[in-house]
């Protein structure tokens, strides 16, 4: 019963480690090509391509992180690596696996590669800090904590208000970009093409259109008068015609 279970777990572990190695290999490749580019093409390289490379690397780091935190990943900290023997001689197998970086599994490299704790100096310093933290009075610590929180929240407020200002300014700018309006275009064109809104001030038009008929009337009536028919009406008509005439003589 126990055996198949174990083998299953082992399989999962193996496959996930396989995946991890694949990811790390990818990252190593892109790092290598980036370094290569930096060394060989540094004269012609542009800043955007450098940024592209950084973006690629950070993307790969992200996927690696996601893989480690993912559900399929067994808790790696529960597994330990136990070195059974050190060998001071060259080991061609390990040299091939590490592409020549580690030539032998000896006492020189093992403390670095199999390290699970920080370096002794680092450990010492962190210990110092921990003891210092313990000696601080609880009251005092609380006070400092609140002060720090206050400062942080203040800074956060300032940053947020600046952000709001920025955004509103951006919005304003985008609103100002409304530099033309279709309605205005339409009314301008209607005015220039068809005279919409421009005809109102002139009141001479009815007079000028009225004028020709009256003069015509006068002429025909004059002709009639010349023919000697109903002279009295002709006279009055002429009079009314002359008063209607817009251009009166002084």
């Amino acid at each position: 019963m126990n055996n198949p279970m174990q083998s299953k777990e082992e399989k999962v572990l193996e496959s996930s480690i396989e995946k991890l190695i694949q990811r790390v290999q990818d990252m190593k490749n892109s790092l290598g090509s980036f370094i290569m580019k930096l060394e060989t093409e540094y004269t012609s390289m542009t800043w955007p391509t450098v940024l592209d490379n950084f973006a690629l690397l950070s993307g790969q780091l992200n996927t690696l992180g996601r893989l480690l935190k993912g559900d399929g990943m067994p808790t790696l900290r529960n597994h330990i690596l136990l070195p059974l023997a050190l060998n001071p001689d060259r080991d061609p197998e390990i040299e091939k696996l590490t592409e020549g970086r580690v030539v032998a599994f000896n006492h020189d490299v093992v403390p670095d590669y199999l390290r699970t704790k920080p370096e002794p100096e680092v450990e010492e310093r962190s210990q110092q800090l921990i003891t210092k933290a313990v000696t601080v009075m609880a009251d005092n610590a609380q006070k400092q904590l609140t002060v720090l929180n206050k400062i942080t929240s203040n800074i956060l407020d300032i940053i947020n208000s600046h952000k709001d200002d920025w955004e509103s300014e951006c919005n304003k700018n985008s609103q100002q970009q409304q530099t033309s309006s279709m309605n205005e275009t339409t009314s301008l064109l209607q005015a220039t093409l068809f005279g919409k809104g421009l005809k109102q001030p002139r009141r001479q038009e009815p007079v000028t259109t009225q004028q020709p008929p009256t003069s015509m009337q006068n002429q025909t009536q004059k002709i009639q008068g010349g023919a000697g028919k109903v002279q009295s009406t002709v006279k009055t008509n002429i009079k009314s015609g002359s008063t209607m005439h817009p251009y009166q003589r002084p």
Binding site: L188, L198, Q204
Partner: protein, 236 residues
């Protein structure tokens, strides 16, 4: 004789006719049309838009950078335009002429006739209308009146003039004349300037539309120069 003259005219004013057969036949038809009509047929390619007064200076700066007369101040103009009409027997039969005269150079009078505006299809980038501009003397108004034309409306256009190659750009503010005989008593019509991009060219030069479209693109998003259907505007 006449053909020769028109040929010379064509070469002198419109450049060497293009060599391929199509253009040649087109050029010939242009010439025959010119002989029959008595005037060389020109077309105006037109894009229109507007800009609000507050952003006008930004547009002027951009135009100054884009256009040929870049150095110095942009060229100003102030024109008085009068639209004369004569109605025929039916309401549709309206003939109209536009008289424009400069208030800066009082001797400059121009009589302009424009045909029906064609909107065309999507392939055509601009409005196209036939047009005829004639420089006249200052008694053109009297002449038109005596022919039976009547003043329909008038306005004052004050603004700026630019050119790039044969493209012409005007940025002008339209004013209503409050008193017929007082050209200083004005009232602005809108809070915007009218922007027009136009080229007057012989018939059949559709390539201009592309150039104009490219130029109009450079004024975006400040001004949206479009081909605006005049027939749709007429319904008000």
């Amino acid at each position: 004789m006449a053909l020769n003259f028109m040929d010379v005219f064509y070469r002198a004013y419109l450049g060497e006719p293009p060599n391929d057969a199509l253009s040649k036949s087109m050029a010939n038809s242009v010439v025959t049309q010119a002989i029959q009509g008595g005037i060389a047929p020109y077309q105006e390619y037109l894009l229109q838009g507007s800009i609000v007064d507050t952003s006008r200076d930004v547009l002027l700066h951009r135009l100054q950078g884009l256009c040929d007369n870049a150095e110095g101040m942009p060229q100003k103009f102030q024109d008085h335009e009068m639209v004369f009409m004569m109605r025929g027997n039916t309401p549709q039969q309206i003939i109209s002429f536009r008289v424009r005269h400069s208030l800066h150079q009082r001797q400059n009078w121009v009589l302009r006739y424009t045909g029906q505006t064609e909107i065309g299809d999507k392939n055509r980038q601009t409005l196209v209308r036939t047009c005829c501009d004639v420089a006249t003397s200052d008694n053109v108004v009297q002449f038109l009146n005596e022919m039976g034309f009547r003043l329909d409306n008038e306005f004052i256009a004050k603004g700026f003039f630019f050119h790039k190659g044969r493209m012409r750009v005007t940025v002008s503010k339209i004013y209503k004349i409050l008193q017929h005989d007082n050209l200083d008593n004005l009232e602005q019509l809108t809070m915007s300037h009218l922007v027009e991009l136009s080229v007057v060219a012989p018939v059949g030069q559709e390539q201009i539309g592309e150039d104009m479209k490219a130029f109009a693109e450079q004024l975006k998003p400040l001004v949206q120069l479009d081909k605006i259907d005049h027939r749709r505007l007429q319904t008000f």
